[in-house]
Amino acid sequence: MTTAALPPLTRKDFQTDQEVRWCPGCGDYAILAAVQTVFPELGVRRENFVVISGIGCASRFPYYMNTFGFHTIHGRAPAVATGLKIAHPELEVWLVTGDGDALAIGGNHTIHMLRRNVGIKFLLFNNRIYGLTKGQYSPTSEFQKVTKSTPYGSPDRPFNPISLAIGAEATFVARSVDIFQAHLKDTLRAAAAHKGSAFVEILQNCNIFNDGAWTGITEKDARSERVIQLEHGKPLVFGKTHDKGIRRKPDGDIEVVPLGNGISESDLIVHDAHHPRPSYAFLLSHMEDRPGFPTPIGVLRAWDDLPRYEDVVNDQVAAITQQKGPGNLNKLLRGGDVWEVK
């Protein structure tokens, strides 16, 4: 790894000569543009970035990033990235995955990477459908959704990726939307600043197999009426005219209240993304399932006091080496009881 002065980088430095092969109109283009904009800002040398993916439309991402890149196998990107980080903790590893890759076939690796707090940025492109296999339902598809593999409606109840990540005690959990470019870039910057595992769900449209996947929150007026943008230290307010807020009820639950008529912003919950315990973020994470509640976007949780997994592992190696002295091969070979034959 080089440590010489960092040359200035631009978006162009992160573009490859490979033709981008997502369907025209795919939400992935917007995410690629945002990532290529944010990477040059991070103060990391280009050769120290590694973009790792699994399988699915989203997972073609590394081919379009002029960094080190590894397009692995279905669901296993978190495990590949974990091994890479343990062996080389100084690398800046970004992982790109989809709802099927991360939550179906790779669900196990996802939760274990998060609980270990490996220093990996985890971008989950959630379009609530299997695109690359042409239109089967995914672990985030709505209950009763009609797809190619569920002509009479899906019997599965969906995962809420944000709740799942918080449940696995991820130390950074955020959500953004492909077409909210400014918000998406800010969210990526916040993830980049986090040392431990940073889980970012990006709501993304699939205009071929699941067009309008997120129109409920992206159509005209929805962004202000049905979305709440979380900001640390600010009250939970939403609505076109900032006329609604979220208040804590005496029983600990939350409720949506109209502002005015004696209810002011000072009665609302002030967003605390840095709380060490995940219960508050969890409460926010699934409010969208409740009638009248908005969908939260932004950083739900950013608690960065937990050491990174790769540092714990390597610090232990350093401490034992300090204690015992560097390994001596002849001593290792002669370990245990030995005897001479003359």
Binding site: P62, I73, A79, V80, T82, G83, L84, D337, W339
Partner: protein, 615 residues
């Protein structure tokens, strides 16, 4: 403690086989390993066969709970743990029932007579007390009240009965040391070390050991004791080493010799877990161990570590190997160096977790989608596991390829005296990371080895993408063109095939040509060697070819096969190497196949040899 000077007769013999058998909670594996260590230090050649149940603690006193440890020790060369035993130590009726058939006529049988009560017999489903009927007539039986005598020796320590009873295996061990004129000192040292933080238990075990020894001396129970002089081994410094330990220190050595970090991604599985345990201790060698969430994460994390420039390995057994299949294909496609150790056990599925088998050869050869050949190696003895770890690492790093090592439960847990090399006599493993961006392409190959460059993240100007999708030759870009695909499939195969030029020719032992050639691989080395030796002493014209490289095979295997009238391939499977040899060389070889979770007996091999020779 001095060798006894009692009145008992002392006889010098060449060789003996002893088996300790009891409940899985009776400490038979420790007892056996202690006896092994002591005779090895004394200078005998040894071979061991630990045989234990998959259940951690099956109901006490029952047949499924019987655990055994067999040791063959000799003043000559030893290749097998022995077909039958000279001394059997049986801690209860179940152990006696399971093991008695292997005791030689007139063999010594030491039984814990305290555990032959009505209730003990019932647990073992034994209807009549063998100590009282005529079952044991043809043996020299020594019933010893192990429980009562151990308690008597320890009663002043103030331990509870259960803790005292746990020491009775050391009482029995002390007796065996007396019987073979062996010093109890190495075991005393081991107890001191093992129980350094529990002085009372340390004292109890030492007292039990001494009590067993003194009991023989005082009572002259055996009337005879034996002396087996040291073996004439190649001069050098030796230690006792099991196959799993040997693999562990072999990979540490390989990493040091290559100047790389060693990375192990593993998920616990019998009988491979000891490699993970062992490597986890060597952090001061820079060893990184990762206990993954599953078998797939274990290997894929290793692929990530290899991608970043570590010597990366993963360890498993058959069922885990099946789960790693897709990832081995990824390593083959991305041409990254990893070593996969499959410590084979009885299968399919969960099969016989603690028993040995050689039935993963074809899985290692072909168990991936599409055309994905990888080098396959197999160690022949526990100590050879060390050298195979070095060879597998060398091939992986030189050719940028995943390599499979096929050990098995017998090698993993079995032990032998191992001549310790010095670090200096082990050759370095040269590794070159690509650093020059000038003319760099991720799939531009070394013309000789066909290896692609190892261009690790963090190297300026070498940013590139790899993955499981088919690559364009040289550039490594995604490419679906028909002719490119065929070319790349053939290149990947040619690369593995080229390793043939880099491995030694097959050298049969015994007769260089003749009536019969035995071809073996893996852990059957010992029993086949012994059988061939005995048969040649009877004047048979036979040779033995043992293969450590299974893919690619040494260049001259086809030629060697033709030098003999008949070819026999003994394997602990249904005939997998046999299948490979027949397919590749059109030779009418025949198999001797045993699928019982146990190694071959020498007699089984000799019988087949004689049958094939018509004698």
């Amino acid at each position: 403690m001095d060798i006894p000077s009692g009145k008992a007769k002392r006889e010098v013999i060449d060789q003996a086989v002893i088996r300790f058998a009891g409940d899985s909670g009776d400490g038979m594996q420790i007892t056996g390993s202690q006896f092994t260590n002591t005779v090895a230090i004394y200078g005998n050649d040894i071979a061991t066969f630990p045989d234990f149940p998959a259940e951690i603690r099956a109901p006490a006193g029952t047949v499924p709970g019987v655990s055994g440890f067999q040791l063959n020790f000799s003043s000559g060369e030893v290749y097998t743990p022995g077909d039958s035993v000279d001394v059997l130590v049986a801690m209860n009726p179940a152990a006696l029932k399971v093991n008695l058939a292997d005791l030689k006529a007139n063999g010594i049988l030491i039984v814990n007579s305290d555990s032959f009560e009505e209730v003990d017999l019932r647990k073992a489903h034994v209807t009549s007390n063998p100590l009282e009927d005529n079952t044991l007539d043809k043996f020299r039986v020594f019933p010893v009240e192990l429980q009562r005598l151990t308690r008597a020796a320890l009663q002043h320590l103030g331990l509870d009965a259960k803790s005292m009873d746990r020491c009775k295996n050391f009482f029995a061990l002390g007796m065996c040391y007396w019987l073979y004129n062996r010093s109890i000192d190495p075991t005393i040292r081991w107890i001191d070390d093992k129980f350094s933080k529990k002085p009372l238990l340390s004292e109890a075990n030492k007292l039990a050991l001494k009590a067993g020894y003194s009991y023989c001396e005082a009572t002259e129970a055996f009337q005879i004791s034996y002396e087996i002089p040291p073996a004439q081994l190649t001069p050098g410094t030796y230690r006792n080493l099991s196959g799993n330990q040997a693999l562990a220190i072999g990979f540490v050595t390989a990493a040091q010799k290559a100047g790389l970090k060693l990375y192990l991604g593993s998920y616990p599985i019998t009988p491979a877990s000891d490699i993970l345990h062992e490597l986890s201790k060597y952090k001061n060698f820079g060893v990184l161990t990762f206990q993954a969430e599953d078998e797939i994460a274990a290997i894929t994390s290793s692929i990530g570590a290899a991608y970043s420039g570590a010597l990366a390995i993963t360890t498993t057994s058959g069922p885990g190997m099946a789960l790693k299949t897709e990832a081995i294909g990824l390593a083959a496609m991305t041409e990254l160096p990893i070593v996969i150790c499959d410590i084979q056990r009885g299968g399919p599925s969960t099969g016989l977790p603690t028993k040995t088998e050689q039935a993963d050869l074809l899985q290692a050869m072909f168990g991936r989608n599409s055309e994905a050949p990888v080098p396959v190696l197999a160690p022949s003895t526990p100590g050879d596991c060390f050298w195979i770890a070095l060879e597998a690492s060398r091939i992986a790093l030189k050719y940028m390829v995943p390599v499979i090592v096929l050990s098995d439960g017998y090698l993993a847990n079995g032990a032998e005296p191992w001549r310790i090399p010095t670090a200096e006599e082990i050759p370095p493993i040269p590794v070159k990371f690509e650093t020059n961006p000038e003319g760099f392409f991720p799939y531009k190959r070394d013309p000789q080895t066909l290896a692609r460059p190892w261009a690790i993240p963090g190297t300026p100007g070498l940013e590139h993408r790899i993955g499981g999708i088919e690559k364009q030759e040289i550039t490594g870009n995604v490419n679906y063109e028909p002719l490119n695909h065929e070319k790349m499939v053939r290149i990947r195969a040619a690369k593995v095939d080229a390793i043939r030029q880099d491995i030694p020719n097959a050298m049969p032992t015994g007769d260089p040509e003749g009536d019969l050639l035995l071809v073996s691989w893996g852990s059957t080395f010992g029993s086949v060697t012994q059988a061939v030796k005995e048969q040649r002493e009877k004047g048979r014209k036979i040779g033995h070819l043992h293969l450590r490289h299974l893919n690619p095979l040494p260049s001259n295997v086809g030629e060697v096969l033709k030098r003999y009238k008949k070819v026999l391939v003994p394997e602990l499977n249904m005939g997998q190497l046999l299948w490979m040899l027949r397919a590749k060389f059109l030779v009418d070889a025949v198999g001797l196949n045993k699928i019982q979770g146990r190694p071959f007996k020498q007699s089984e091999l000799e019988q087949k040899i004689e049958e094939m020779l018509g004698v």
